[in-house]
């Protein structure tokens, strides 16, 4: 790990001031980094993938930025709320099972106690070539250097949203709930606050995989908002072992049904795409339709219609379709 100057930010304006020198929007290279739960940042600093010269501890903001608010029609979550606390919240489990389960099925109990929601949605990819600096060719780490994963061991890599520059999978789970439920992100910067659709936060790799989000340098996520209530919702995650593992394929599903007919449907995919992935065309097939297994399979096929596999990860298409169909079936048949 490279030496760094450690500073604490005791309030948002101090954080903005300290983060002002964050540099460009290549987050891996940014010389000033905000430290929350540390479960990604400290790990990547130990690997020398991230080498900040200054680390700003924003944990003092936890008091102000950790609220969980279910008053009114919407759910508001502070960015410094810890994953474990949101997952264990009884009202969230009831009104937003997809949110609670996407948090509960992520990481381990210890990591969920540490990691914040804001940090979690910005979690970096687990691409082994990105994480191992002995590979020089990683467009995400060293722009223009190539991609070792393209012809390497790419079993865990993405089949949706890829480019010829990068096929690294977005690793998180909670983000799939946010994008499925039309969540918004509250962002604070030195010129004030703004709010964007969660779907606008992450950028597909395209020709610049080193730029992962639309956050400007020095901006912080302060919270999230989810409109409405989604008691009929499911997060289903398929992985190499039953617990404490990243998704090979996952699905966030939310349905609004009346008398067996789908009035509204939301579908997002995890473990298979370079960014949190909303399957809008596929979910559209469900609207005003009577739910049955054949419909679920058509939706699953549509969700992966544009998938482009590499040598080792074609199985994710077949697996992903089954995950989608099963998640839809679970959501459609759950008692709410």
């Amino acid at each position: 790990m490279q030496p760094f100057v450690f500073q604490s930010a005791n309030d948002p304006s101090a954080a903005m001031q300290a983060l002002a020198a964050s540099g460009g929007n290549n987050v891996t290279e940014a010389p000033v980094q905000a430290l929350a739960g540390g479960t990604t940042l400290i790990d990547l600093m130990k690997l020398d993938v991230m080498r900040p010269s200054t680390v700003i501890d924003i944990n003092p903001l936890s008091g102000a930025w950790s609220q969980i608010n279910l008053e009114g029609e919407n759910l508001r979550l502070g960015a410094m709320a810890r994953m474990a606390d949101v997952a264990a919240h009884p009202e969230i489990q009831k009104a937003y099972p997809v949110v609670a389960d996407s948090l509960k099925l992520a990481a381990s109990a210890q990591l969920r106690n540490m990691a914040t929601l804001g940090g979690n949605v910005l979690q970096r990819t687990r691409c082994t070539y990105f994480r191992d600096i002995s590979y020089g060719n990683c467009n995400k780490r060293n722009p223009g250097s190539g991609c070792a994963a393209m012809e390497g061991v790419n079993r865990m890599h993405a089949v949706l949203g890829t480019s010829d520059q990068c096929i690294a999978t977005y690793a998180g789970d909670f983000a799939q709930s946010l994008i499925a439920l039309d969540g918004t992100v509250e962002i604070i910067g030195k010129s004030g606050t703004r709010s964007i659709a969660f779907a606008q936060l992450h950028r597909q790799p395209g020709n610049s995989p080193q730029i992962e989000t639309t956050l400007a340098p020095g901006e912080l996520i302060s919270g999230f908002m989810i409109p409405g209530r989604w008691p009929r919702s499911v997060y289903l995650k398929a992985r190499d072992r039953q617990s404490y593992e990243f998704a090979l394929a996952s699905a966030a599903v939310a349905l609004d049904m009346q008398n067996g007919v789908v009035r509204d449907a939301r579908l997002a995919l995890g473990g298979v795409a370079t960014v949190p992935w909303r399957a809008r065309e596929a979910e559209g097939l469900l609207k005003e339709q009577k739910f049955d297994d054949a419909l679920a399979e058509r939706v699953a096929d549509a969700a992966f219609a544009g998938a482009t596999p590499r040598h080792h990860n074609a199985f994710k298409i077949a697996l992903g379709k089954r995950v989608v169909a099963r998640a839809l079936y679970q959501a459609a048949t759950m008692e709410v």
């Binding site: 450690f6 381990s108 109990a109 990591l111």
Partner: protein, 206 residues
């Protein structure tokens, strides 16, 4: 430095007591030397090479330290304070061997900077027993033969205490899910589950 396990040995000497005492001796001299030197804290805000002064509260006692800012809680415990119970397995948050409680919550000390843990209550495996009386979870691990090599055991026990207090020890499946962050390469898992089930009622009774 206190090491509760040493008193349970009839000869008054065992490997763990020797290792802990040796670690304690190793840090004592530099600490004394630094105490007489100039305070490094003010300029450390500008120079990442300089160590910083901090206080960690471990098992109910304040400990003054002068550390490189990169030092994790795990390294501060093991290398500077002689608390060698918490183990370094992967050092990347993947194995759980370094699990400690911070303000009662189980966290990974290998991914927590010592500077971030200031002002919080750290509890390690050494802080669980009540004098010579083992914590119910420690006793249950012995009773149920819940380890072979023992390397993951301190992390398992600390994690298991929190697992019970969180209310996540209500069934075998529940225990397995909520203990999945503690890897045991000897695969003592069935016995670990049995130990947690044994200790849970006593812990919840208070």
């Amino acid at each position: 430095m206190s090491d509760k396990s040493s008193s349970s040995n009839a000869s008054g000497f065992n490997r763990r007591a020797f290792m802990a005492a040796a670690a304690g001796t190793a840090v004592a001299a530099p600490l004394t030397a630094r105490a007489a030197g100039p305070a490094a804290t003010p300029s450390a805000a500008q120079d990442p090479q300089l160590p910083v002064d901090l206080t960690l509260r471990v098992n109910g006692q304040n400990r003054q330290l002068n550390l490189d800012a990169r030092t994790t809680v795990l390294d501060a415990l093991r290398e500077r304070l002689g608390f060698t119970g918490s183990k370094k397995g992967c050092d990347h948050g993947q194995c759980g061997a370094c699990t400690v409680l911070i303000d009662g919550r189980r966290v990974l000390s290998c991914l927590t900077l010592a500077l971030v843990a200031q002002g919080h209550e750290i509890t390690t495996i050494e802080g669980l027993a009540d004098g010579d009386k083992l914590h119910p979870m420690q006793q249950a691990f012995i009773d149920q033969d819940a380890f072979q090599c023992g390397y993951c055991t301190p992390g398992q026990i600390v994690s298991a205490v929190a697992c019970v207090k969180e209310g996540h020890a209500n069934s075998d499946d529940d225990i397995r899910e909520y203990m999945s962050g503690n890897i045991c390469r000897c695969a003592a898992y069935p016995n670990i589950v049995a130990a947690i089930k044994q200790a849970a009622p006593e812990i919840l009774k208070g």
